[in-house]
């Protein structure tokens, strides 16, 4: 098969003294192939993407060795605008790449630059609006689009230039499950049209089986690549150890190998997993897999009581339409739902940034209207999705001190003692003199949590706690949330990640179009197909597998919070609590 892109012994460092971000990398992308690039955080995935679209060497200064060939021509020998004729890139945040004001204009922008004829551009705009499903928004201003629509427009804008290779860097990192599904379907449609794709993603559930080639990057080196099934067989365990997110079905396959079973190949889909379990006779008809019952029990009286709360930002449109919700001490509560379901508005009401005017909202025994934001922040805190927005000083230590001073701690000795205690608790001592903006993504989030924990709040709200993190960092952050919960603090996480909800949440509430549709334990939620559909949520692969087993008269009861727990049940090792 013809090769569209090739890297020959490529190494790159951002400056002479810094370590190599990419290290002697050689790879090829075949024409029309669907390639997925995976690797733990900081392994060089985004830097590798910059190699294909010419940002390296043309825009980033640094030391580049080796050769990058696109359709046989070295990227160093041509200008970026020439590379853009063959390679299209959709950035992590496509909103930042928009150059015009309206949807139609945005799609036309690239081909206009490439001097395509007017008729050809108009035809292409029409077909791409249809292909991406954003025809109804063609006259919208780009900043009035939802997250999913922005991603689709980003894709349409790049496709309009008729590239032969498309680079997609985490295109669904911050989308709700429905938008993610729609973008995934669109990517698979492009694959079927024969466009060469390089996709960086941590959401492999929908893609792994369809990929022609998976590239595994670790510390700037390509440690493995190849067709998914043979790659998983050879390197699956290594990928798991690196903290790469793998579908739960793959995790089950790998766990079976670890348990000593011999498999022909690692299952990727639910059907394949089922077939393997049958073949190994692990799930004969009539078998019961009994997990521990998860009964949600409330501790003490509620800290927060919302009764029929309604809220509108104006114009008669309600973001919250009569929600009742109690939050209890020491619970891990997940709030899930689509973008625009009312989750963030609810969080803003709880921390006092918006005032509840309709319905009753009791916060810590007092009506919310009588709370002032600074006073309320001693009781309830919110860690924003982008922690940078919260930082106010020039060092990690000063950030903690600021929060302590806001709590009235001014004595120098107490200030230092408390500051050090919090830094130790969140494992940030090494970074105490670093500028908050210079921290890694994981440490920024830790610092965001640290500044909010200072006043010993009773409730901590975390917006997308593991957004953009690899599996290892997700585990670390969720361990931290568990520790906070064990101190009696109610942790409320707003998340789209159903695996996270399944594994960690005691209780889950589902919001959809400003209303609450479910309030209970996660396992119960996954059994309510109508609610999942209404809220555009998708059950995890593991849950889908359990349902299929049920159809085969294998009864699975109780709480199974993840593939590890399932395997323990399956292999009769008892259930981890």
């Amino acid at each position: 098969m013809a090769v569209i892109a090739e890297l020959k012994n490529v190494s790159f460092q951002f400056d002479q003294d810094s370590p190599k971000v990419l290290n002697n990398l050689s790879l090829t992308l075949e024409t029309g192939s669907f390639n997925i690039l995976v690797g733990p955080g900081g392994s060089g995935k985004s830097t590798l993407c910059h190699m294909f679209n010419g940002r390296i060497p043309h825009l980033f200064n640094g030391v580049l060795d080796g050769e990058i060939l696109i359709e046989g021509t070295s990227t160093a020998d041509v200008e970026m605008k020439d590379i853009s004729c063959s390679v299209g890139s959709v950035f992590q945040d496509p909103e930042s790449m928009f150059a015009t004001l309206s949807v139609e204009d945005e799609i036309a922008f690239g081909p206009e630059n490439l001097l395509f004829s007017r008729e050809e551009i108009l035809e292409s705009v029409e077909s791409l609006l249809t292909l991406t499903g954003i025809n109804a928004y063609r006259h919208n201003l780009v900043w009035n689009l939802s997250g999913g629509q922005i991603q689709k427009l980003g894709l349409a804008a790049v496709l309009a230039m008729k590239p032969r290779l498309i680079i997609l860097d985490e295109p669904t990192a911050n989308l709700d499950p429905l938008a993610t599904k729609q973008v995934h379907e669109l990517i698979l449609k492009l694959k079927n049209e024969g466009i060469t794709i390089l996709l960086v993603t941590r959401e492999l559930d929908d893609f792994m089986a369809s990929a022609d080639n998976i590239l595994v990057l670790e510390k700037g080196s390509l440690i493995a690549s190849g067709e998914p099934y043979s790659l998983l067989m050879k390197h699956g365990l290594q990928m798991e150890q690196l903290g790469i997110w793998l579908p739960e079905t793959v995790e089950i396959g790998l766990a079976l190998i670890k348990a000593g079973y011999s498999l022909d190949r690692i299952p990727i889909t639910v059907d394949e997993t089922l077939a393997i379990l049958n073949k190994l006779e692990l799930c004969p008809e009539g078998r019961t897999l009994k997990g521990p019952e998860k009964v949600y029990s409330q501790h003490g009286s509620p800290l927060i009581q919302a009764e029929n709360v309604r809220f509108s930002y104006g114009g008669g449109i309600y973001a919250i339409k009569g929600i009742s919700l109690d939050i209890y001490p020491g619970e891990m509560l997940a709030i899930v739902g689509r973008n625009g379901a009312g989750k963030s508005t609810m969080a803003r009401l709880l921390i006092g940034l918006n005032k509840c005017k309709e319905g009753t909202l009791e916060l810590f025994g007092k009506n919310s209207r009588h709370w002032k934001v600074p006073n309320l922040s001693n009781h309830i805190s919110l860690v924003f999705q982008n922690p940078e927005h919260q930082f106010l000083t020039d060092s990690v230590a000063q950030e903690i001190e600021y929060s302590l001073q806001a709590q009235g701690v001014y004595d120098k000795d107490t200030l230092e003692k408390e500051r050090n205690r919090i830094l130790t608790m969140l494992n940030l001592e090494q970074e105490k003199d670093s500028h908050p903006f210079a921290l890694s993504a994981g440490n920024k989030r830790r610092l965001g949590v640290a500044t909010m924990l200072v006043g010993d709040p009773q409730v901590l709200i975390v917006d997308e706690p593991t957004y953009g993190q690899d599996k290892e960092m997700t585990g670390t952050l969720m361990k931290l949330m568990k520790e906070i919960q064990s101190r009696g603090i109610a942790v409320v996480m707003i998340s789209h990640d159903m695996r996270l909800v399944e594994e960690y949440a005691d209780r889950v509430v589902v919001f959809s179009e400003g209303q609450k549709h479910f309030d209970g334990i996660p396992t119960e939620l996954f059994n309510k197909a109508d609610i999942l559909e209404r809220a555009s949520l998708q059950p995890t692969l593991l849950f889908q597998l359990l349902k299929r087993l049920e159809e085969k008269k294998v009864n699975c009861t109780g709480h199974v919070p993840g593939s590890d727990a399932f395997l323990q049940l399956l292999l009769n090792k008892g259930m981890a609590s």
Binding site: N53, S96, M97, G110, L114, L115, G455
Partner: protein
């Protein structure tokens, strides 16, 4: 919505249909004319005319005009009061240390109308002109499209900055106050707003610049314009009529109104 404030509104109005570059020249003509006026009468006439034109020719409602221009009218009013009390001239009224001069009474309204009319006509250009069409008309007039696009990109960034400011304000509000006085706290917050917004603004600008390169911006000296704008001779009616009105007003000032005010 941040983007709805002072933005283009396609209402099929007469002003919507006028060639963008002609409207731009029209605004410049008004600005020059306003600086030549020597009496408040001329400014007052222009103020009424532009208001009428906004509503009749641009289909902009009085509510929309007020929402966007109220702050400018307020500033103009303050400017007028400033001239009343601080301009030299013969004192016509005094109370303790406060004095109003005859010259101030004339200059105050002149400055009010000058500011209000220039800003209102600029707003009218924004309300009735698609920025893309303005850019296209610049390109057709011979401006390289790389430069014409800078106007476009500035417009593109405004709502993003507004979003960023909202997010930072909310995040800071819940951090509480560490410094002693409210004033020093506010100062600290403003410092951080500027810092955070600047850092994120630079990041976004870098990404946008890179994205433009990735999307073949500047590939050739020319580019296709899918949505074209066409100049028609009748578009000139607006600037010609305005020129005649301005000339008439200046003429009237010289033969009659200047004497009335004793200038």
């Amino acid at each position: 919505m941040a983007g709805d404030f002072l933005s283009f509104k396609e209402k099929g109005s007469v002003l919507n249909r006028i060639y963008p570059l002609v409207k731009m020249i029209w605004v410049l003509l008004i600005a020059v004319g306003l600086f030549l006026f020597k009496t408040p009468f001329s400014g007052g006439v222009m103020f009424v005319l532009i208001l009428t034109l906004s509503m009749a020719g641009g289909k902009i409602s009085p509510k929309e005009i007020l929402r966007s221009a109220l702050i400018v009218f307020g500033l103009g009013f303050l400017l007028m009061i400033f001239h009343f009390f601080f301009d030299p001239g013969e004192v016509v009224w005094s109370w303790y240390f406060l004095t109003i001069t005859d010259y101030g009474l004339i200059q105050g309204p002149i400055f009010f109308f000058r500011l209000s009319v220039i800003v209102l006509s600029s707003f009218l250009l924004i309300w009735t002109t698609d920025t893309r069409d303005l850019m296209t008309s610049f390109i057709k007039a011979g401006m390289p499209y790389r430069y014409a696009y800078t106007i476009f990109l500035a417009m593109r960034f405004l709502p993003l900055i507004q979003k960023e400011v909202d997010a930072v304000q909310s995040a800071h509000a819940i951090r509480g106050r560490a410094s002693g006085s409210g004033l020093s706290h506010r100062f600290k917050l403003w410092q951080r707003y500027v810092f955070t917004i600047l850092i994120n603004g630079i990041r976004k600008a870098e990404i946008t610049a890179d994205a433009l390169e990735c999307r073949a911006f500047g590939y050739k000296k020319q580019r296709t314009c899918v949505k074209d704008v066409t100049f028609r001779k009748r578009d000139l009616v607006l600037p010609i009529l305005t020129l005649l009105i301005l000339a008439g007003l200046i003429y009237m000032e010289h033969i009659r109104w200047i004497d009335i005010f004793g200038l």
